[in-house]
């Protein structure tokens, strides 16, 4: 099987076909709407954490930012599931576009960054009694940049794809 056959097979799966072709508003439209809600929760709560580390809303104790983690986790899983469904619907469109890999890489970096922020800043004993280090602010800036980049590259996917489906017709 050549690489085009892989895309054809991928695209013909029953879940992907349902997402792509069902006339129901619960199929593609609802999945893409949930993907936007998850984005707002995940990137939004990360941004709130980053703003606090930068020094805004100073009276929010840094240690309480750990309470944002369940919101981040919810947004992440909502988007992982909806994202996989969207990928199953249009695998060729995403996987033949380098911006899709850029988006995934930016999300991966942002996630590792959040883990580092949690481990070295939020979960540090006495964090509320000490001032925020320059290193913490660099991690927060990286987080904001990666999320913004992931959002922009996600949006660009609608404009930059080369093939829509496994017929490999140029668009």
């Amino acid at each position: 099987m050549d690489w085009k056959g892989f895309f054809i097979l991928f695209e013909q799966g029953s879940i992907g076909t349902w997402v792509r072709e069902s006339p129901s508003m619960l199929a593609f439209p609802t999945i893409i709407a949930l993907h936007a809600v998850g984005m707002g929760l995940l990137a939004g709560s990360n941004a709130a954490m980053d703003f606090r580390i930068f020094g805004f809303a100073r009276r929010v104790p840094i240690s309480t930012l750990e309470n944002l983690v369940p919101i981040m986790r919810f947004g992440f899983w909502l988007n992982a599931v909806s994202g996989v469904l969207l990928l199953l619907a249009y695998p060729t469109k995403a996987l033949t576009n380098w911006i899709f890999y850029l988006k995934l890489a930016l999300i991966a970096i942002a996630m590792v960054d959040t883990l580092l922020i949690r481990k070295h800043i939020l979960q540090k004993p006495n964090v509320d009694a000490t001032s925020v280090s320059a290193r913490a602010k660099i991690l927060a800036a990286l987080s904001l940049a990666c999320w913004a980049g992931a959002i922009v590259s996600g949006r660009l996917l609608a404009y930059t794809y080369i093939y829509l489906d496994a017929s490999f017709t140029d668009y």
Binding site: A36, M39, A43, G44, A57, R58, N67, I151, V152
Partner: protein, 172 residues
């Protein structure tokens, strides 16, 4: 009313912004990107505050968390501005679109809700101690706000699927 709407559309189509949105390659995608970043700012601050109201993230002190709201207002401003560029660029795709009409309804409800919140309960809410539940009316207001913004996002994404004239809705 129809004559008025039509004359507004004619005016919009004569503007520089209409020309840019329809002839400059990067205009639409740049506006959309900003619109999505604004959405995140709004959800991450106003949405987070709403979640605190309904009883999540209770360890976070309310008045302190409220200091992040300016970022939500910034996001809102970004989205009103970029929203105007979409509306100007393709007015008939929006004005007659039931998803857009619902989106405006949700935004209006969110606006009324937030006005009511600040006029009648914010002072009492701000003194909620860390770990404490917000007062009951504030929990309702937070829930309404959250539902409205999720509704706004849903309707925004549904716009494409209700493009006039290929749609149906009870009032179209």
């Amino acid at each position: 009313m129809e004559v008025f709407v039509h004359s507004v559309q004619v005016w919009l189509k004569g503007t520089e912004l209409y020309y840019i949105m329809n002839n400059v390659n990067w205009a639409w995608r740049t506006s959309e990107s900003i619109h999505f970043i604004g959405l995140c700012l709004l959800m991450g601050t106003v949405g987070l505050f709403d979640l605190r109201m309904i009883g999540l993230v209770k360890r976070v002190p309310v008045a302190a968390l409220h200091r992040l709201i300016p970022f939500g207002i910034l996001g809102y401003g970004m989205n009103v501005m970029t929203g105007i560029t979409f509306l100007t660029g393709a007015s008939d795709q929006y004005i007659y679109n039931p998803a857009f009409q619902m989106k405006m309804l949700f935004m209006g409800t969110a606006g009324l809700n937030v006005a009511l919140f600040y006029l009648t309960m914010y002072r009492r809410v701000a003194s909620t101690a860390p770990g404490d539940e917000a007062p009951f009316p504030a929990r309702i207001a937070g829930g309404v706000s959250l539902l409205c913004w999720v509704g706004v996002i849903f309707c925004g994404r549904f716009l494409t699927f209700y493009r006039p004239p290929w749609h149906w809705c009870p009032w179209c």
